[in-house]
């Protein structure tokens, strides 16, 4: 019988781990809002679900649509279009909720549709333009090039906790302003 030495186990495990981290690195989930394609780091993404009935929560800024039930977990939902002050559009069957986790906060991001998981190595990233028009610039982390296409990489924690957002609990905020 083939016996496995303890060390082999360890090596395997270590290797797996490294591999796992590799799969997360430089990968971005891209989605579409109108004509533009945006990306967020894949490590923030937990899952993608279809749009479902959102329960409105009072006293929230307009882009916080309310809360949804994600298999028993109640999570807040943000409409990214409204956050970017883009024209409102009816939700349809392609509308998706990207469930993201930033620090301790789980949040659903409503987007027009999800595109793909794109590989953008660090050297193809350029910093966000200093000047620009529109409100969305403040949430941009950088621009990623894939061939001729340019994807706008978003800073998710700014998207959530920028001063316009609801005031998060202080200790949470500290954790998140990485």
């Amino acid at each position: 019988m083939h016996t496995i030495k303890e060390t082999e186990f360890f090596d395997d495990d270590l290797y797996e781990d490294e591999d796992d981290e590799d799969t997360m690195k430089d990968k971005y989930l891209t989605f579409r809002l109108g004509k533009e394609v945006y990306g967020i780091e894949i490590c923030h993404v937990i899952e993608i679900v279809g749009i479902q009935k959102i329960t409105e929560v009072p006293d929230m800024p307009d882009y916080v649509r309310g809360v949804i039930n994600l298999r028993g977990q109640v999570i807040p939902v943000m409409d990214v279009r409204t956050r970017f002050r883009m024209a409102q559009e009816e939700y349809n069957e392609r509308t998706c909720v990207i469930v993201a986790r930033i620090g301790d906060t789980d949040i659903g991001l409503v987007v027009d549709r999800v595109e793909e998981v794109a590989d953008i190595p660090g050297e193809n990233l350029s910093p966000a333009p200093k000047v620009g028009k529109g409100t969305k610039n403040r949430y941009i982390k950088g621009l990623g090039k894939i061939g001729e296409e340019v994807k706008i990489i978003l800073d998710v924690s700014r998207l959530l906790f920028d001063e316009e957002g609801p005031v998060p609990l202080p200790e949470k905020a500290e954790e998140l302003s990485l």
Binding site: Q52, E56, V57, P58, M60, N69, G72, L160
Partner: protein
């Protein structure tokens, strides 16, 4: 360092648990029969001893010293050298209190000042021993903490220093360990291990050794001799000796094989011979073994350890025996003994009770019996389980609803879905019951309070307790302790009269406070009654008027409403501010806290007969009864407890004030209306009040009517917290998931009333 931190925390938690029992037992001392007291003292002794042992092991010297002093006094009580008196109880309590304080801040426990308490403890002891009062104190710091308590008396006087050095290196078997054993088939041994050597030669870690031992028998007592070093650091390269009294079904030879021990390290014991007080001490152990001694239980009057005769022995005994003569090898032994002893620890294992009567006793008192069946679970994990079961309930109702629509062979699926529902509801019950704990600890705290306070106030009073086994959700229990304390304090301070007053009123001199708990429906009722002077309604009215908290309709106040005024903020009838109560915060805080739990508090009183406080508390915070209402496209849940009534108003009930505030006239009351769709900015079905529905809700004394489109129904539901990101929403206390899978927000009536006032 994290490692040692977690050990310390574990030690503190466990010791605090011990102290809970200790305190209760101390309070019960000298109240009943002497035989019961003996058992109690034994139990207290054991608990304190475990604390001392572990503290010594962790080098928490102050804790070890204090518990040692407590131990000494307890032993004195046991030997009847110290007279039972109320002062003993107080000093014991003082000691256990200080221990608790030190334990709750274990890391800095060594900075605590224990000298005063220790002096008290020793004074009591000396007092009874020598007849001198507070004269001949022995400061505890100069005593030897590790010295077995039975030795402490005789030894401190007579035993020469040298002998102590020797016993220090010996393993002392105590008679108490060997009592209550039934070893009809088992053999009894004393084992000697050198962990360091075992690790080197056999590659066994101490944990492996202990596992091996437990697999083949039972460890009755064990002691480990650690070096002076800091445990979290690497273990020293010197022998790490461990002794154990061990019962096993294996004979000595087998044992040596199984445990990788040399023959000399396994010493068989003859239980009968040892327990026979007239046996020749020299005969107890094999001649070549001199590292064991036996200490008779102090009751037999023989306090000196019985040593095996010194004969130069085997290799192992030589290593051991050489130590006292060559102290430089063990740097610690050259220092004061107190230091070196801190490295010793004696671990007590819970002995199995063999006497059925004793066992039943132990179990009924919840002390030792059955403890092995408990495991500690992180409360968060439990919450998670309860949550998941909640999900399961919702998922199940969604599936059954769907099946009922689409099914052709409905009979079969009907029965299987009923089955599923039954299992799930049982699962839910079990999950909820796991969070339930009895009120016992809470009630015990109250007996302590009554003991302390009645002393302080110079009143004589006892607390009767009933229904302490009633179970409540852990988080509820945590939150009712304060309100209960307040109420008991009030009973004692305001309710119970002084002995003279009571005598004059023809009552028994000593007052009684009775505290009982029981289940009723989905609630727990707690009733606290005293047989004191009762509420003085005239005084209450006068005081309320003076404080400006008297409602305008004072003429119409019935007796009940007058009594309830004592729950108003800022109400206090005692002119003199006492140490106990009367700071004007008290009963209003009680009421607020109980309402926070969705419970209620009420008071009944009869002049000169006493006062009764009644608390009604929901079993759990995790589930509420709610009414589901709809406004536009949203469904909200209102806790049923805060709803007075709901109705469709008639046009003539509606009054509008100049500033647009609508008011509804219900019978004689005028109640403001809040339109939910307005504050939550929704589009309602109806904007005329006559077409929708009004829900009359109350929080405290405030009333409002909420305007909604319709009432959907009543449901029992699992409460969820709002996610932090949206927690700033006002008027919302949480949310819940409906059987449709949709989220419904739970309205916070108190908050809404506040909002309407702005």
């Amino acid at each position: 360092m994290d490692y040692s931190q977690s050990i310390l925390e574990e030690f503190a938690t466990e010791s605090l648990e011990h102290l809970e029992h200790v305190e209760n037992d101390i309070l019960l001392l000298f109240k009943g029969e002497a035989s019961a007291d003996c058992e109690r003292i034994d139990r207290i002794f054991r608990s304190i001893h475990s604390i001392k042992g572990a503290a010594g092991f962790l080098q928490l010297e102050q804790i070890a010293d204090l518990s040692h002093a407590l131990e000494n006094l307890l032993d004195g009580l046991r030997l009847e050298k110290v007279k039972a008196a109320p002062s003993v109880v107080n000093v014991l309590l003082e000691g256990s209190d200080l221990l608790r304080i030190m334990l709750s801040n274990v890391e800095h426990s060594d900075e605590a000042d224990i000298s005063q308490v220790c002096e008290h403890l020793n004074a009591l002891l000396n007092d009874s021993e020598t007849g001198e009062i507070f004269e001949n104190r022995i400061p505890i710091l100069h005593q030897q903490p590790e010295q077995a308590p039975a030795e402490a008396f005789a030894a401190s006087a007579s035993a020469p220093q040298a002998e102590h050095m020797e016993t220090e290196e010996k393993f002392v078997i105590r008679q108490s360990v060997l009592e209550n054993l039934s070893l009809a088939e088992d053999f009894l041994y004393v084992l000697r291990y050198d962990f360091e050597q075992l690790r080197k030669t056999a590659g066994k870690s101490p944990v492996t050794v202990i596992r091996e031992l437990l697999a083949a028998g039972e460890i009755l007592d064990a002691e480990i001799r650690t070096g002076p070093g800091n445990l979290p650091e690497a273990l020293p390269e010197e022998p790490l000796l461990c002794f154990a009294v061990y019962a096993s079904f294996l004979d000595a030879e087998e044992l040596c094989d199984v445990l990788d021990l040399s023959e000399s390290a396994v010493v068989p014991l003859n239980l009968e011979k040892i327990m026979n007080p007239s046996a020749d001490p020299a005969d107890l152990f094999p001649k070549d073994v001199k590292w064991i001694s036996f200490e008779r239980s102090s009751l037999s009057g023989q306090n000196q350890p019985v040593s095996a005769p010194s004969v130069p022995g085997t290799l192992e005994t030589e290593t051991l025996g050489s130590k006292p003569e060559t102290p430089e090898k063990l740097p610690e032994s050259s220092k004061p003994e107190k230091k070196s002893s801190a490295g010793h620890s004696r671990v007590f294992y819970n002995k199995k009770f063999t006497d059925p009567e004793k066992k039943a006793l132990a179990e009924s008192e919840g002390f030792m019996g059955g403890r092995q069946h408990d495991i500690r679970i992180d409360l968060e994990k439990l919450d998670l389980l309860v949550n998941l079961v909640g999900e399961l309930v919702i998922a199940e109702s969604m599936i059954t609803a769907r099946c009922n629509h689409s099914d052709s062979d409905s009979q079969e699926s009907g029965s299987s879905s009923r089955n599923l529902r039954r299992i799930i509801s049982e699962l839910q019950d079990v999950a909820m019951s796991m969070r339930m704990i009895p009120l016992t600890q809470t009630f015990r705290k109250m007996s302590r309070l009554v003991h302390d306070l009645s002393g302080k106030l110079g009143k004589s009073c006892r607390l009767e307790i009933a229904g302490e086994e009633t179970e409540l959700d852990k988080s509820v229990i945590e939150q009712i302790t304060d309100p209960l304390l307040h109420i008991i304090r009030n009973c004692l301070d305001h309710g119970i009269e002084s002995s003279e007053e009571r005598k004059a009123a023809g009552k028994s001199e000593s007052g009684t406070i009775r505290m009982e708990a029981r289940h009723r429906g989905g609630e727990v009722l707690i009733r606290i009654s005293d047989d004191g002077r009762g509420l003085d309604r005239e005084k209450i009215l006068a005081k309320s008027a003076q404080r400006g908290i008297l409602p305008e309709e004072r003429m119409r106040l019935d007796r009940q409403s007058i009594d309830r005024l004592i729950f108003e903020p800022g109400f206090s009838t005692v002119d003199r501010v006492t140490d106990v109560s009367g700071r004007g915060v008290g009963l209003d805080v009680v009421k607020k806290n109980i309402e926070k739990l969705k419970g209620r508090v009420d008071v009944r009183s009869a002049m000169n007969e006493g006062t009764v406080f009644i608390l009604r508390i929901p079993l759990t915070l995790a589930i509420i009864d709610g009414m589901l209402i709809r406004v536009g496209s949203s469904c909200y849940t209102i806790p049923l407890l805060s709803i007075r009534e709901s109705f469709r108003p008639a046009a003539d009930q509606i009054i509008a004030t100049v500033d647009g505030q609508e008011i509804i006239k219900i019978r004689e009351e005028l109640i403001p209306v809040i339109r939910l769709h307005e504050i939550y900015k929704m589009v309602p079905d109806h904007s005329e009040l006559e077409k929708g529905i009004l829900i009359h809700v109350a929080s405290g004394r405030e009333n409002i009517c909420l305007f909604a489109d319709e009432i959907i129904g009543h449901h029992q539901t699992v409460i969820k917290r709002m996610p932090n990101y949206v927690a700033s929403a006002r008027g919302i206390s949480g949310c819940t998931i409906l059987s449709s899978g949709e989220v419904s927000l739970i309205l916070d009536v108190g908050d809404l009333i506040e909002m309407s006032g702005e």
